[in-house]
C-alpha cells in the first residue's frame, strides 16, 4: 500500500472532509487511508455524491404512484406511459462548470444528463434546460448567456436529440453563480429497463466509451464548494464534451441492451470511476476488484488517484454476464469505441484496486456507503411577508405602457434567440415547439405524445419558501394541463446556497415542504432529482431555485390545445379567481423596482379542480386554444396568446379594476379562446362546479385593445417582445 504516511487531517480538509468525517474514515478502515483512498472518500462523501445535508429532507417527498416504475435512487426516474412503454427522465445541474467555462460546462451538462437516461435503456427523445443568469447589466452575463446557449446547442444538436423547452431568467443574485439545469426525457420498452445494481460473483466489469484523461479531477468537490474571489483564477481543469462520441456510445449501448448480456450498467458522471463502481457494488451488495492498468488512458503516467477521480466524459461502466465479453466487444468496436474488461465482481464486500501489481486501495463497500455522513443542519424559517394588492402600489405607468414594459423585460421577453440555436425538430416528432406552455413530443410511430416543461419562480421561493415550492410544482402541473396532457410525474433540481447557513437551510426545508405538499395534492410524484448546494459567492446566495421538470401524457396528438389565438370572433374566457396579488410579482419588480411582498398563495384543491376541468375540455375537443396565467398576470398571458396566434383581442375590462387585475399573479388560472357556442356552455359548466369563469374579451383584428387604456398593434407588441434578447446579445 502506498503513501500511508502522508495523509493527514489537513490533507483531508483540503479534500473537503471535516475532522469528524476523516476520523470516521480511519475508523471504517481501521487505519489511515492512503492518498488514493482519501480521494475516494472525499468524492463519495462530498455533498454532491452523498446528499449529506439534504437526505433527511428528500426522504419526506412523495415518490410513489401506481404508474411509477422506479423512483429516486437510480440514474433516472421511470414511469409507465402505457402501450408497453416507459418514460425515463431526470434533471441535473451543471452550475459551477458552466460559470467557469460556459460552453463546455453547459455542453457536458447535457452530455451527462443524456447518459443518465440512456444508461437505463431509454432512447432520449427530448432535452430541456432551465437557465438562470445574473443581472443583464453585470459584466459577465452576456458572455455566459452566449457560451451556455451555444454549448447546450452544440451538444444536443450534434447528438440529434431535440431541445424543446426550458426557462431563462435573470436576477442579480445569480451574478456570480449562474444555474444551468439540464433535463432529458427518454422512452424505453417497459420490460427492458436497466439498473445499476451489480450481481453475479465473477461477472466481468467492463469499461466502454472514451479514454480517461486528467479532466475535471475534483469536479464533484468543486460542485460542493462555494466560490470566492480567487476561483476565477484557480480555473480547475474543465471537461471538454465530445457529442459525436456520445452519439456512438448511445447507439452502441442501445444495441447491446437489445441483447441479454448486461447485468448492470451505470454511466460515469461526477466522480467518474469511483462513484460508478462504488454505487454498482453497493447497490448489489457486492465486492469489486478493479485492475486499473486495464483502464483505457489518454495520457501517460496517470496515477490511481487520477484514474479514480477523473471526470472524463462519454464513459460507461457495465457488468456483463460472464462469457458475453466477445459479443459486447464486437458492438463497441463496430462503433469505434474503447472497450476493456477492467475487473470482476467478488463476494468480498470490498473494493480492491490494483495497479502495476500493487494493491493501491482496499475499501469496505457497505460501511463506506452506510456510514456516509448525514447532517441535520440547523435551519431558520424565512419571515412571513404581507400581501400586496393593486391598492397598495403607486401607479407609475399606464396599463398599456406597463404591459409593453413587461413584454420587453428580460424575464418575459421571447426566448427565440435561444431556442433557434437548438435543433428542436430533429427526430421529426416535435408537435409543439418551444414558445408554448409545455413542449409536446410525439411518441414515435404513434398518435400519443408526451408533454414536458420546466418551471420555478425563484422570487416566490425567496419571499416564501413553502408557497414558492408549492407554486413551482403547481405551475409545472398547470403548464402540462394547459396542453391537454395528464401530468404524471416530476424530476427536481434543487439549487440553493450554502446549507451551512441557517437561513439557506431554512429555505431548503421550506421549499421541500411546499414541493411535497403540492406533489401529494396533485398526484404528481417526484421520481428523480438532484441537489446543488453552495451556489453562493462571498456569502451571498442565489435566490433559492428548485427547478421542477414535469412530464405528462397526451392520448391523442390531434386533441391538444395551443397557446396562439388564431381565429377571429373567439370568446376569451378566464377561468379561476382573480384577487390581484402583486407581492413578489414581475410587475412590482419591473415597473416599481420593488421585490417586496408575499407571493400569491397556492390553493392546491382549486389548482387541481380547474386543471382537470380544462384538461377534460381539451380532451373532448371543445378547447383548442389555452394558456395558463403566470408571470406578468392576465395582461401578459393575453398578449402572449395574441402574439403566438397572430390575431388580436379586444378586452372587455370589468369596471373598477386596477393593476392588480391586469398584472396580479394569482395562481390556478387559465385563459381559453373558444367559439361563441362553446363559450356559453363552458361558462355554465364551470360555474356549476364552482369554478369562476369570466368572459374577458373577443378575438379579432390586429391590435390588442385594452379598452379605456388604449390599444397596442400586434407589430409593436411583437417588436418589443422579440426585440430585447437579440438586442441585448448583439450590443
Amino acid at each position: 500500500m502506498q503513501n500511508l504516511s502522508n495523509v493527514t487531517v489537513e490533507l483531508a480538509a483540503e479534500h473537503g472532509l471535516t475532522g469528524g468525517e476523516f476520523a470516521r474514515a480511519v475508523e471504517i478502515l481501521g487505519r489511515t487511508p492512503n492518498f488514493t483512498e482519501l480521494g475516494i472518500f472525499s468524492v463519495m462523501w462530498s455533498e454532491h455524491c452523498s446528499y449529506k445535508s439534504s437526505k433527511k429532507w428528500l426522504r419526506t417527498l412523495p415518490t410513489e404512484a401506481p404508474w411509477v416504475i422506479c423512483g429516486p435512487g437510480e440514474n433516472a426516474g421511470v414511469i409507465d406511459i402505457g402501450d408497453g412503454l416507459a418514460a425515463i427522465f431526470k434533471m441535473e445541474s451543471h452550475n459551477h462548470p458552466s460559470y467557469i467555462e460556459p460552453y463546455q460546462g453547459a455542453a457536458t451538462g447535457v452530455g451527462g444528463i443524456l447518459r443518465d437516461v440512456f444508461t437505463m435503456g431509454a432512447r432520449p427523445i427530448a432535452n430541456l434546460n432551465a437557465l438562470r443568469f445574473g443581472s443583464p447589466d453585470h459584466a459577465k452575463t452576456r458572455h455566459l448567456v452566449s457560451g451556455v446557449v451555444a454549448g447546450i446547442g452544440g451538444y444536443g444538436n450534434c447528438i440529434g436529440v431535440p431541445t424543446v423547452g426550458g426557462e431563462c431568467t435573470f436576477h442579480t443574485s445569480y451574478d456570480g453563480n449562474i444555474l444551468v439545469n439540464a433535463m432529458t426525457v427518454g422512452i424505453a420498452p417497459k420490460d427492458n429497463i436497466f439498473y445499476a445494481a451489480a450481481a453475479g460473483i465473477g461477472n466481468p466489469v467492463i469499461y466502454v466509451g472514451s479514454k480517461t484523461g486528467r479532466d475535471g479531477i475534483h469536479g464533484a468537490t468543486m460542485a460542493s464548494a462555494e466560490f470566492d474571489d480567487q476561483s476565477d483564477e484557480k480555473r480547475p481543469t474543465v471537461q471538454v464534451g465530445d457529442p459525436f462520441t456520445e452519439k456512438l456510445l448511445l447507439e452502441a449501448c442501445l444495441e447491446l441492451m437489445a441483447t441479454d448480456a448486461i447485468v448492470a450498467i451505470q454511466d460515469m458522471g461526477a466522480a467518474g470511476l469511483t462513484s460508478s463502481s462504488f454505487e454498482m457494488a453497493s447497490r448489489g451488495g457486492m465486492g469489486i476488484d478493479l485492475d486499473l492498468d486495464q483502464v483505457p488512458m489518454r495520457e501517460t503516467g496517470m496515477t490511481a488517484y487520477e484514474l479514480m477521480l477523473s471526470e472524463s466524459q462519454e464513459r460507461m461502466l457495465i457488468v456483463l454476464r460472464a462469457g458475453r465479453e466477445d459479443d459486447a466487444r464486437a458492438i463497441f468496436e463496430k462503433w469505434e469505441l474503447d472497450f476493456a474488461v477492467i475487473g470482476r465482481l467478488t463476494d468480498s464486500g470490498r473494493m480492491v484496486l490494483k495497479m502495476a501489481g500493487d494493491i493501491v486501495a482496499d475499501l469496505p463497500v457497505a460501511p463506506l456507503a452506510e456510514s456516509a455522513p448525514e447532517y441535520d443542519r440547523p435551519h431558520r424559517a424565512s419571515p412571513k411577508l404581507d400581501a400586496i394588492r393593486g391598492a397598495d402600489v403607486i401607479l407609475r405607468k399606464s396599463t398599456r405602457d406597463a404591459l409593453l414594459a413587461l413584454m420587453g423585460s428580460p424575464d418575459l421577453c421571447s426566448k427565440r434567440w435561444i431556442w433557434e440555436q437548438y435543433d428542436h425538430m430533429v427526430m421529426a416528432d416535435t408537435v409543439v415547439r418551444p414558445g408554448a406552455d409545455a413542449a409536446v413530443v410525439r411518441i414515435h410511430g404513434s398518435n400519443r405524445a408526451l408533454a414536458m416543461t420546466t418551471d420555478c419562480t425563484p422570487r416566490y421561493v425567496f419571499a416564501d419558501p413553502v408557497e414558492g415550492g408549492k407554486q413551482a410544482v403547481a405551475e409545472c402541473w398547470r403548464n402540462l394541463s394547459a396542453t391537454g396532457a395528464k401530468p404524471l410525474a416530476i424530476t427536481d433540481c434543487l439549487n440553493f446556497g450554502s446549507p451551512e447557513r441557517e437561513e439557506v437551510m431554512g429555505q431548503f426545508v421550506g421549499a421541500i415542504a411546499g414541493i411535497g405538499e403540492a406533489s401529494r395534492a396533485l398526484d404528481f410524484p417526484i421520481v428523480s432529482g438532484n441537489v446543488s448546494f453552495y451556489n453562493e459567492t462571498n456569502g451571498v446566495a442565489i435566490q433559492p431555485t428548485p427547478s421542477i421538470g414535469g412530464v405528462g401524457l397526451i392520448a391523442r396528438v390531434d386533441r391538444i390545445a395551443r397557446v396562439g389565438i388564431n381565429a377571429e370572433g373567439l370568446a376569451i374566457i378566464l377561468l379561476g379567481q382573480t384577487v390581484g396579488e402583486l407581492g413578489a410579482s414581475l410587475y412590482l419588480r419591473e415597473i416599481n423596482h420593488s421585490e417586496a411582498g408575499a407571493p400569491p398563495p397556492v390553493d392546491l384543491a382549486q389548482e387541481r379542480q380547474i386543471g382537470e376541468f380544462v384538461r377534460s375540455r381539451i380532451e373532448s375537443g371543445d378547447v383548442r386554444v389555452c394558456h395558463d396565467v403566470s408571470d406578468g398576470g392576465l395582461g401578459v398571458a393575453v398578449a402572449e396568446m395574441v402574439l403566438a396566434g397572430g390575431v388580436g383581442v379586444t378586452m372587455s375590462v370589468p369596471n373598477g379594476v386596477d393593476h392588480g387585475w391586469w398584472f396580479g399573479e394569482d395562481q390556478a388560472r387559465y385563459i381559453l379562446a373558444v367559439d361563441q357556442k362553446s363559450a356559453a356552455q363552458i361558462i355554465s359548466d364551470s360555474e356549476k362546479v364552482g369554478i369562476k369563469a369570466t368572459r374577458i374579451g373577443t378575438s379579432g383584428g390586429s391590435t390588442l385593445d385594452l379598452g379605456a387604456d388604449g390599444a397596442i398593434t400586434l407589430s409593436d407588441l411583437r417588436a418589443v417582445a422579440e426585440g430585447w434578447l437579440p438586442g441585448y446579445m448583439n450590443a
Binding site: C158, G160, D242, K247, L248, E420, Q421, D423, V426
Partner: protein
C-alpha cells in the same frame, strides 16, 4: 421506387428521411451503413442530415471520404438520382458531386427555424409536384449552411438553371432579410448538370406531416416517386 438512405455514425436525420420516403413511396428504403462498399440496386440514394463524423474539421469532409461514398459517386455518375439534405448537401459538395461549399452561417450561430423557399426549378425529379415559383415553408437546422461559390461558378449555376431553391419571405421576395445564413444569392439548394443530384440545406422531411406544423415538404418526396417509379 427503390431508395437507399446512407447512415453515417453521426447521422441523426436518417430515421426522419426514412419515414418521409416510406410515407410517399409506400415501401421502406434500405439503410446502408457507411462502411459498406456497394449499394443495392436503387432509383434514389438519399444522404441524410446530422453530424456524420461529428462534423469535426469541416462539415461533411470525413463522410465524403468514407468507403460508401465511392459507391455513391459511381452510381451517381451512372445516373442514379441523389438527394442530400443538410449534412447530406455538405457531404455532396465535399465529395465533388455538387459545386460550391457550405461555410459557417453569417452570424456564426446555429439556426433552427421554419424558412420560406421559392421553388426556382420545377422540372426536376425532386420538384415536379411544386409549381414554378411556388413559395413553400420548410425548416432549416444547421451551423454551416452559408453557400458559397466563386463568381464563374455562380454564373454557371444561374445560366444553367441549377439553383433549385432560394430563401425568400412569405410573399416570395428574395432579399437579404429573408436570407437566414448568408448564402450567396440566397441559394438554398443546387442541382448538378444532369439535374439528377440535388443538395439542399432545408429539411423537407421535417414538414411532411400536418401534425408537425406543415406539409410542404411532402411534395418533394411525392415528386421523387412520380419521377422515379
Amino acid at each position: 421506387m427503390k431508395a437507399a438512405v446512407i447512415v453515417f455514425p453521426g447521422s441523426n436525420c436518417d430515421r426522419d428521411l426514412m419515414v418521409a420516403l416510406e410515407q410517399s413511396a409506400g415501401a421502406a428504403p434500405t439503410m446502408v451503413w457507411h462502411r459498406e462498399t456497394t449499394l443495392p440496386d436503387v432509383d434514389l440514394i438519399a444522404v441524410p442530415g446530422g453530424f456524420s463524423y461529428g462534423d469535426y474539421l469541416r462539415s461533411g469532409a470525413m463522410a465524403a471520404r468514407s468507403p460508401i461514398m465511392k459507391a455513391v459517386v459511381e452510381d451517381a455518375r451512372r445516373g442514379v438520382a441523389v438527394l442530400g439534405v443538410c449534412n447530406g448537401f455538405q457531404i455532396l459538395t465535399e465529395s465533388g458531386l455538387l459545386p460550391g461549399v457550405l461555410m459557417r452561417n453569417r452570424d456564426l450561430r446555429y439556426v433552427c427555424r421554419d424558412v420560406f423557399l421559392r421553388v426556382e426549378q420545377n422540372d426536376t425529379p425532386f420538384s415536379n409536384k411544386y409549381a414554378q415559383g411556388q413559395v413553400v415553408k420548410i425548416p432549416i437546422a444547421h451551423h454551416d449552411g452559408n453557400f458559397f461559390i466563386d463568381s464563374d461558378g455562380h454564373r454557371q449555376l444561374e445560366d444553367e438553371g441549377r439553383i433549385a431553391f432560394r430563401y425568400c419571405d412569405s410573399a416570395g421576395l428574395v432579399d437579404n432579410r429573408s436570407n437566414p445564413n448568408g448564402s450567396l444569392a440566397n441559394i438554398a439548394g443546387v442541382l448538378d448538370p444532369s439535374r439528377r443530384i440535388l443538395g439542399m440545406m432545408p429539411h423537407p422531411e421535417r414538414l411532411s406531416d400536418p401534425n408537425l406544423g406543415g406539409n410542404d415538404g411532402r411534395a418533394l418526396f411525392d415528386s421523387i416517386l412520380n419521377a422515379l417509379s
